[in-house]
């Protein structure tokens, strides 16, 4: 390589030798830098030549201080032509500083090319040459530093002595121990529970609750369970539809031999979960009742001992064309009156079921009630705004004349604020008492002369409860104002006491003093009907949510017993007049018969026993049994249904 280079340079030389000085200089000096080769003519230094010498004749000064003249300007065309002719024109560079044209040699070009490609400018330079240590060590005879050895190199160290002394002191004091041999993993167990007779009981933690044990595995966890424990494909698929927490955690599978059982993949995870449960789960003691559910049932007296009571449907009274709203049994126990939405009121003979009489009123009867006195065969029928007092036509001639006399209004009268007006009803030969608003209930006094009607108006209206006297054809407003909208009102069977049921309370008034005695808190949402025990000290209240409350008036203003028997509204509750029975009828098509013994001993609570559920009516437009009444002397119950039948249940 070197030779070749040499040849080249030689050839270069041959080529360039006629050219001029530069190559000669190069050859002589053998220097790298091109500045060194030829000293620049101009000496002005690094100044903006173009600007400063723009208008001058010279471009600077040479080394001797003489002005360097600018060369005459060349004609552009001429210079172009010259360049076009000259094949070496591409090598020529105009040197502005010296104001001359320089022609690059081949070496210059090569050098430029190497620089552009990022190599060393000269090909012969090796950038990675081996290092040559120039210093000669041999035979020199002395170190670099000629200082004498210090004394401390020959005297024992005081600092070290101190350190050792300190260590010795520490070792003696037992602060530093000799390095132990790696400990052998030997847990030294001993008899921890020597004898359990010592007072270990005292040390027991008071409120420690041991963790519950894991559930023991059942048949289904076996590796080879019976066929019936393996769920079918559909069942397994149905697990996917379940909620995450309901889904069975373990799906039984059957392996035909022990060798085919794989490792259980969740064993570590389950153990981990157990660990988490043990230290993260709050523990409480829970009492789990493990008793027979039958033992929860109260011991009721046998039904057989409580007979007689109505159990089976014996008769049906057919004839009404619409739901039978109301029924009433006459005090002798022979006749039954019923009112229906088909606009008729009928009278039946109880024992035969024959319809004796039909009154075509043309308006739905809401309530119906026999006069409780036997020699006054009068029926009170509640229509929308009117109360009709009808002559039933029963009894001998004596009674009939008396009744007709009673049911005669000589001149139509009215109360001063026109709440009520009495007038004769021509068609059915009775009395028509017109009210200012719709009447909701009617109730006779036991003597048969007074009766009360309730007109649910608004709060504190004095006309809401009215007491009428039949003999004087007179109406009265016993209350100046009432606390709430009344629903129904009832007379006490023997005393001068009056019960008014508002929506949630039952107000008890003393009629002789004209003041309120009690307010019974039922706790139900809406009262539908009330009934007073013939003894007069007990009261039952039926509500529209299906609850029934028994009040002992001597005991408390709160219910003695609340029974939730029905799933729908209770339409009517009623006591039997002589037997210890009461009943409730409801829209869920059932009627309940209860036994209720009231003891004369005040210390003994009344005995209430549910006896029988009477079914048989059919639901119509969401209504079931609309009314129920007991026979006055027999333990029979009449029920009126929305399916336009009346049923008689006997024992």
């Amino acid at each position: 390589m070197a030779e070749e280079k040499h040849d080249e340079s030689l050839s270069d030389e041959a080529e360039w030798s006629d050219d001029g000085v530069s190559s000669e200089n190069e050859k002589v000096e053998e220097s790298d830098s091109s500045e060194d080769e030829v000293a620049p003519r101009n000496t002005v230094g690094d100044i903006p030549l173009v600007e400063w010498h723009k208008d001058e004749e010279h471009i600077g000064y040479d080394i001797k201080g003489k002005k360097l003249k600018k060369q005459p300007r060349k004609d552009k065309l001429a210079s172009f032509l010259e360049g076009a002719d000259d094949p070496k024109n591409w090598r020529k560079i105009y040197d502005e500083y010296n104001d001359e044209e320089v022609e690059l040699t081949r070496d210059d070009i090569r050098l430029i090319q190497r620089l552009i490609s990022g190599r060393t400018p000269h090909a012969e330079v090796n950038p990675y040459e081996d290092y040559v240590d120039w210093f000669e060590y041999e035979d020199k005879g002395h170190p670099l530093s000629n200082a004498p050895e210090p004394k401390r190199r020959f005297v024992p160290s005081k600092w070290e002595a101190k350190k050792v002394a300190a260590l010795v002191r520490k070792i003696r004091a037992g602060l530093i121990k000799a390095p132990d041999e790696p400990k052998e993993e030997e847990a030294n167990y001993y008899l921890l529970w020597g004898d359990d007779t010592n007072s270990a009981e005292n040390k027991k933690r008071i409120n420690y609750i041991p963790a519950p044990k894991l559930k023991l595995p059942g048949h289904e966890e076996s590796y080879n369970p019976s066929v019936e424990y393996i769920p079918t494909e559909e069942e397994i698929n149905s697990y996917q539809l379940m909620y995450e927490e309901d889904r069975p955690k373990f799906i039984p599978r059957r392996y035909l031999s022990l060798r085919s059982v794989p490792a259980y993949d969740k064993s570590v995870k389950e153990m981990f979960d157990r660990c988490l449960d043990q230290y993260l789960c709050p523990r409480t003691r829970k009492k789990r009742i493990n008793i027979d559910p039958e033992s929860l049932k109260p011991k009721l007296p046998s039904r057989k001992d409580l007979r007689p009571y109505p159990t089976t449907c014996y008769l049906e009274y057919l004839g009404h064309a619409g739901p039978v709203n109301c029924i009433s049994v006459d005090p002798s126990g022979q006749w039954l009156a019923s009112g229906s939405t088909d606009g008729t009121t009928r009278m039946w003979e109880i024992e035969t079921g024959r319809c004796l009489k039909v009154w075509e009123i043309g308006e739905a009867a809401r309530q119906i009630s026999w006069n409780p006195v036997a020699d006054r065969p009068i029926l009170a029928v509640v229509l929308e705004y009117d109360v009709l007092l009808l002559n039933s036509g029963m009894g001998d001639i004596d009674i009939q004349t008396k009744t007709k006399e009673l049911l005669h209004v000589s001149e139509p009268g009215a109360t001063e604020d026109a709440a009520v007006s009495w007038m004769q009803h021509e068609k059915h030969d009775g009395i028509r008492i017109k009210h200012f608003k719709a009447v909701s209930s009617i109730e006779w006094h036991s003597k048969g002369d007074y009766f009360t009607t309730v007109v649910p108006t608004f709060k504190r209206d004095s006309r809401a409860v009215l007491v009428h006297q039949l003999s004087k054809k007179n109406s009265d407003k016993p209350f100046r104002k009432l606390p709430g909208i009344p629903v129904t009102a009832v007379f006490h069977p023997s005393k001068k006491i009056f019960f008014v049921a508002t929506k949630r309370f039952v107000q008890v008034y003393d009629l002789s003093k004209g003041q309120r005695i009690k307010k019974l808190e039922t706790g139900v949402r809406e009262i539908s009907s009330i009934s007073v025990h013939p003894g007069g000290d007990n009261l039952i209240v039926g509500s529209k949510e299906g609850k029934m409350c028994w009040f002992d008036l001597d005991l408390s203003t709160r219910p003695y017993k609340t029974l939730k028997a029905h799933s729908k509204d209770i339409t009517r509750v009623t006591f039997h007049r002589t037997y210890p029975l009461f009943a409730s009828a409801s829209d869920d098509c059932t009627a309940y018969v209860f036994h209720s013994t009231v003891y004369s001993d005040l210390n003994q609570n009344p005995l209430i026993v549910p006896l029988e559920i009477l079914r048989g009516h059919k639901a119509e437009h969401g209504r079931g049994v609309l009314d129920c009444k007991y026979h006055p002397r027999q333990p029979w119950l009449f029920t009126a249904g929305a399916d336009s039948t009346i049923k008689l249940y006997c024992h």
Binding site: A200, K203, P262, K269, I289, Y314, E612, I613
Partner: protein
């Protein structure tokens, strides 16, 4: 207006706020990190509580203040702080590249012991035994885990677990207190009865265990740390009770052959023989060992063992002592053993078992000796060879058996488990090689309470009663004898099963008597009823045509319903709710049984059709 829960300064907290503390506050109160708190809770057995009112919100964890104060005064707390400080020193030394110091410090890490903690948590031995279920399951699980460096499961830890579990099994086996076994998909369940306590544990199948990522091994290892210590102390106490030195020194050769359990059995057997005067209970294993020695006198192993015996036993003639024991023990055993243990001890008595290579050796090596059998296995170290003529049962789990000895039964492993659960030796017909064995039933289920007895369960019951009848002649005892079987038992005239039968008979008699009394009562009540009815009828004044109604005209189906309704009507709301909940759960149980029956029926119909 002060805030709602304003408490004036200086006034103490009251009620729930004083009795309970949330976890965050407890950590702050104890001045520890959550990790240390967790560890303390695990070791001390402290768990969250449910306060009556969660005063800081529903989503928080509450600890009893007493528990936290209990932790506060725990010396372990201080120790854990020291460890933490020490770890910092080591870290610092390492960071300074002071290797010597780091090493020295590492060697001197403060350590703590758990014995006081264990004694505190379980003041009596019975308490410890009662809480052993989880401990055993955990130790057995870790004994079968692979060592994983990344999860800090170290080899020596696993070996320790293995040893502890084998020691436990050796004790159970020695005292014949294993009661029930069950192969489930999860592993093998064992139930043993120690000091009247039923202990159930689960051992995983002897296969490579699966390690999942969603498990925090730090927590598991903290639990394991406590359990290891607990089981160690429990084992010590148990071994002490049968006069065996603890920790046992094992035959290194057997250990090397991975037959530690067997080695342990032998150790326990020889160990309890060391004090012949006191220990009157060790009869069987001596016997077994003796036969073993007769069996393979050629093997040098027995010599090795003899050398060990010389080393362990007191120097006065071991062989003769053992003979003495054998003679004296046979009748002494019965005195202090309960009949259950006796039954278990004699189930496989004088039967020899041989395990094939593919059978899970550990489980069977544990179970068969626990019920009095003698067992060997294919491979090195077994006490006798496959060619032994006396082998009665060979346990195999392969599709076909090539060479068969006519003198023995070849049965599948499930047979052993079923025998143990039924406490009788079942016929081997259904368990022969290559057959699909009958269903394996769980012994932990009370079939009567569940309301459904699987078919095979009934078969086993029949076999059991048949076996009992075979064993003893039917007792034709007089009424006087039946009246008090307990006294007879005391006299030792009839044994337990007979007593049971007598008791059953007595119960039957009682039942008959009761029925008779009931009927009498009914009759009496009937007469009173009719008379009362007639009285009432005479009182009634009204028309009587309708009173001839029959009382029994009420349809029967609704009567029951009505009866229910009537009773429900009279119940208080609370009781009604309880009653309904019970009914629902009963219904659910019933439907479960129904489902089982339905599936059974379908399976049968598909089989026939």
């Amino acid at each position: 207006m002060p805030p709602k829960h304003y408490r004036p300064a200086g006034k103490k907290k009251e009620g729930n706020a004083a009795k309970y503390i949330t976890r965050t506050k407890a950590i702050k109160y104890l001045q520890v990190s959550l990790r240390v708190f967790r560890k303390l809770c695990i070791l001390k057995g402290i768990f969250p509580r449910v306060p009556k009112k969660k005063f800081e919100g529903n989503h928080k964890t509450y600890y009893s203040m007493k528990d936290i104060n209990f932790l506060l005064h725990e010396p372990l707390l201080e120790k854990l702080r020291q460890i933490r400080a020490h770890e910092k020193k080591v870290k610092k030394a390492k960071a300074r590249k002071n290797k010597d110091l780091a090493e020295r410090l590492l060697n001197r890490m403060p350590c703590y012991k758990l014995d006081t903690l264990i004694f505190e948590r379980y003041p009596t031995f019975i308490d410890a035994i009662r809480d052993l279920d989880d401990c055993l399951t955990m130790v057995h699980l870790f004994a079968s885990l692979p060592a994983v460096e990344g999860e800090r499961i170290q080899v020596n830890r696993i070996h320790k677990c293995r040893r502890l579990s084998h020691e436990w099994q050796a004790y159970i086996c020695r005292t014949h207190s294993l009661r029930k076994t069950f192969i489930s998909v999860k592993g093998v369940y064992y139930q043993a009865e120690v000091q009247g306590q039923k202990i159930t544990w689960l051992t995983p199948h002897a296969l490579q265990q699966v390690l999942t990522q969603d498990v925090d091994f730090n927590i598991m290892l903290t639990f394991l740390e406590f359990y290891e210590a607990l089981l160690g102390f429990v084992n010590f106490k148990l071994y002490h009770s049968i006069n065996v030195k603890y920790p046992p020194i094992l035959d290194s050769r057997l250990e090397a052959l991975a037959a530690e359990l067997y080695a342990l059995f032998r150790y326990v057997a020889t160990g309890s023989a060391r004090k012949p005067v006191e220990s009157q209970t060790s009869g069987l294993i001596e016997e077994k060992k003796d036969t073993e020695e007769k069996m393979d006198p050629s093997v040098d192993e027995s010599e090795l063992r003899l050398a060990q015996l010389q080393h362990q036993l007191p120097s006065n003639e071991p062989g003769t002592l053992m003979q003495l024991l054998e003679d004296s023990n046979t009748n002494n055993d019965d005195d202090d053993e309960d009949p259950d243990t006796k039954e278990c001890r004699t189930l496989f008595k004088s039967l020899k078992f041989f395990l094939s290579r593919e059978v899970p050796r550990e489980a069977l090596l544990f179970i068969i000796p626990a019920f009095g059998g003698v067992v060997s296995w294919e491979g090195e170290g077994g006490p006798f060879k496959e060619t032994d003529e006396d082998i009665a049962y060979q346990i195999v789990d392969r599709p076909t058996q090539g060479h068969k000895f006519l003198s023995r039964h070849y049965v599948q492993p499930q047979w052993v488990f079923d025998c143990v659960n039924a406490r009788i030796i079942l016929p081997t017909d259904a368990y022969l090689v290559g057959m699909v064995p009958p269903p394996h039933l769980s012994p932990f289920v009370d079939d009567e309470a569940e309301g459904y007895v699987p078919e095979y369960g009934e078969t086993i019951k029949r076999l059991q009663t048949a076996a009992q009848k075979n064993v003893m002649p039917l007792p034709d005892l007089g009424n006087q004898d039946i009246a008090d079987p307990q006294s007879l038992l005391a006299q030792g005239i009839i044994d337990r099963t007979q007593a049971n039968e007598a008791a059953e008979e007595r119960q039957k008699l009682l039942l008959l008597e009761k029925q008779y009394h009931d009927e009498l009562k009914k009759e009496m009540s009937g007469t009173t009823y009719s008379s009362s009815l007639s009285n009432k009828n005479s009182e009634n004044t009204g028309s009587d045509e309708m009173q001839h109604q029959d009382e029994d005209m009420v349809p029967v189906s609704t009567e029951k319903d009505d009866e229910d309704n009537r009773a429900k009507l009279y119940m208080s709301r609370k009781k009604k709710g309880l009653f309904e909940a019970m009914e629902i759960s009963n219904q659910r149980k019933k439907s479960k049984v129904e489902l089982l029956k339905e599936r059974k029926r379908k399976a049968e119909s598909s089989k026939t059709g």
